[in-house]
């Protein structure tokens, strides 16, 4: 009996060690996915994309659904009203999507310096710790690791993994993300990082104590690192001293609705002369 228990403990210890080892070798530092993982992502991505599309339609349909009771003749009319309201909701969803896509198209035309690709968000990380979205474009459409992801309003994140037909994007609100940025007016540099706070999900650290930081100032990418220079990142809402008191930290209000991402732009290339 004792020997059996010892074997059980030993087996559990081996499994725990294996899992800890796996955790360390499957982080974001990996250069690429295995063939099995890439295939799994693309396959699951198709199902997730379908569910998301149905979800968008249902959400808009529910928003327009009228809930009220009744009896007799009026009940039939009310039923018809409910059906028509649901239909309007679905049509409204198409209209909104059309408007968003037109904005992305406008961005492409007014920013000829970037060769951009439109992609749809098909899934999110199932957990709450990390901010990663999966999009329906991959290697086959020219997407590569570390490409910047934007919206007309501002910076969204960067591509961290690519499969043949899907890619994962690390949002700038993720705690593992770091963006080289600067205050647009004073050109004071700093680093924008993600924070686990739904009200203020971005902070800008390492600002010099002498920096003139004021609420409302725009923060843009500095061009140091992976992101092209001058992309809006956020707006300063508050300032406080950094951890050691040697630098300043600013809380930023994001310019992009990270909780409601549906379509995004991937910068495939920065064109010369743009």
């Amino acid at each position: 009996m004792k020997r059996l228990r010892l074997k059980g403990v030993l087996a559990a210890a081996i499994v725990v060690l294996l899992l800890l080892g796996m955790m360390h070798i499957t982080g974001l530092e990996r250069d690429e996915l295995t063939v099995l993982e890439a295939g799994l992502r693309d396959g699951v991505g198709f199902v997730q994309g379908t569910v998301m599309q149905v979800g968008y339609q249902l959400r808009e349909g529910f928003r327009h659904l009228v809930h009220f009771g009744g009896t007799g003749d009026t009940e039939e009319l009310r039923r018809q009203v409910r059906e028509l309201e649901a239909e309007i909701g679905v049509l409204r969803e198409y209209q909104l999507q059309n408007e968003r896509l037109r904005q992305l198209l406008d961005y492409r035309e007014t920013n000829p310096g970037f060769d951009v690709l439109v992609a749809e968000v098909v899934a999110r990380d199932p957990g709450n710790w990390f901010s990663i979205v999966k999009v329906n474009r991959g290697v086959n459409q020219g997407v590569r690791r570390d490409q910047a992801v934007i919206l007309p309003a501002g910076l969204v994140g960067r591509v961290i993994f690519v499969a043949p037909n899907t890619a994962d994007v690390l949002l700038i609100t993720d705690p593992r993300s770091g963006v080289g940025a600067m205050l647009q007016d004073s050109r004071t540099p700093g680093v924008v990082k993600g924070v686990l706070d739904s009200a203020r999900p971005l902070t800008m650290s390492y600002l010099t104590k002498e920096a003139a930081v004021e609420p409302g100032q725009l923060v843009v990418t500095s061009g140091l690192g992976l992101f092209p220079k001058g992309i809006p990142v956020g707006r300063v809402v508050a300032m406080h001293k950094g951890a050691a008191g040697l630098t300043m930290t600013a809380d930023l209000e994001p310019l992009v609705g990270f909780d409601h991402l549906e379509e995004i732009l991937i910068i495939l290339d920065s064109l010369p002369g743009g």
Binding site: G127, L196, D197
Partner: protein, 164 residues
């Protein structure tokens, strides 16, 4: 049959978590349906089975996320086992007790995960993790548990999820 239903529930929970649960964010968090399911299963079936379902659910979530394979598998196994210890000690019929267990299980689960995340070199200040994620998620999960436990308990005692 019971295994098949559990696998389907796990798959559905993961699919919803990775897609449309984004529409029901409260205080920046979405409910963890896999954790709620593991809590339900562990409390009605004991520590060994709780740990087993936790391991399977966590591994499936790890593969779906694609990063840090083992992070969820390990955390869910620990929580499945711990909650399962209450199998013979708690009054399982009450949804309110289960809501309390779901809250504590969420805090413990996210606590274990937080330590593992720190071990992976990802620095998140403890206050930020507690107020920004762990406590709101605990409240949200306990509300979900309160909503669904009666239905689950009926199925676990008289329906498709009844132990053979």
């Amino acid at each position: 049959m019971r295994i098949l239903v559990l696998a389907l529930l796990l798959g559905l929970a993961l699919l919803l978590e990775s897609t449309v649960l984004q529409f029901v964010l409260v205080a920046g968090v979405k409910p963890d349906l896999v954790l709620v399911l593991v809590v339900f299963y562990a409390i009605t079936n004991g520590p060994r089975e709780g740990a087993f379902l936790g391991f399977m659910g966590g591994l499936a979530q790890d593969f779906l996320s694609g990063y840090y394979l083992g992070l969820n598998a390990l955390s869910f196994t620990v929580i499945g086992y711990l909650v399962g210890l209450g199998h013979t000690r708690l009054f399982k019929e009450s949804p309110f007790i289960l809501a309390g267990v779901a809250f504590l299980a969420t805090v413990a689960f996210e606590g274990v995960k937080y330590l593992l995340i720190l071990g992976l070199g990802i620095a998140v200040p403890p206050g930020e993790a507690l107020w920004g994620l762990i406590l709101p998620l605990g409240v949200y999960n306990s509300a979900v548990a309160l909503l669904f436990y009666r239905r689950y308990y009926l199925s676990a005692t008289r329906g498709l999820l009844r132990s053979p």
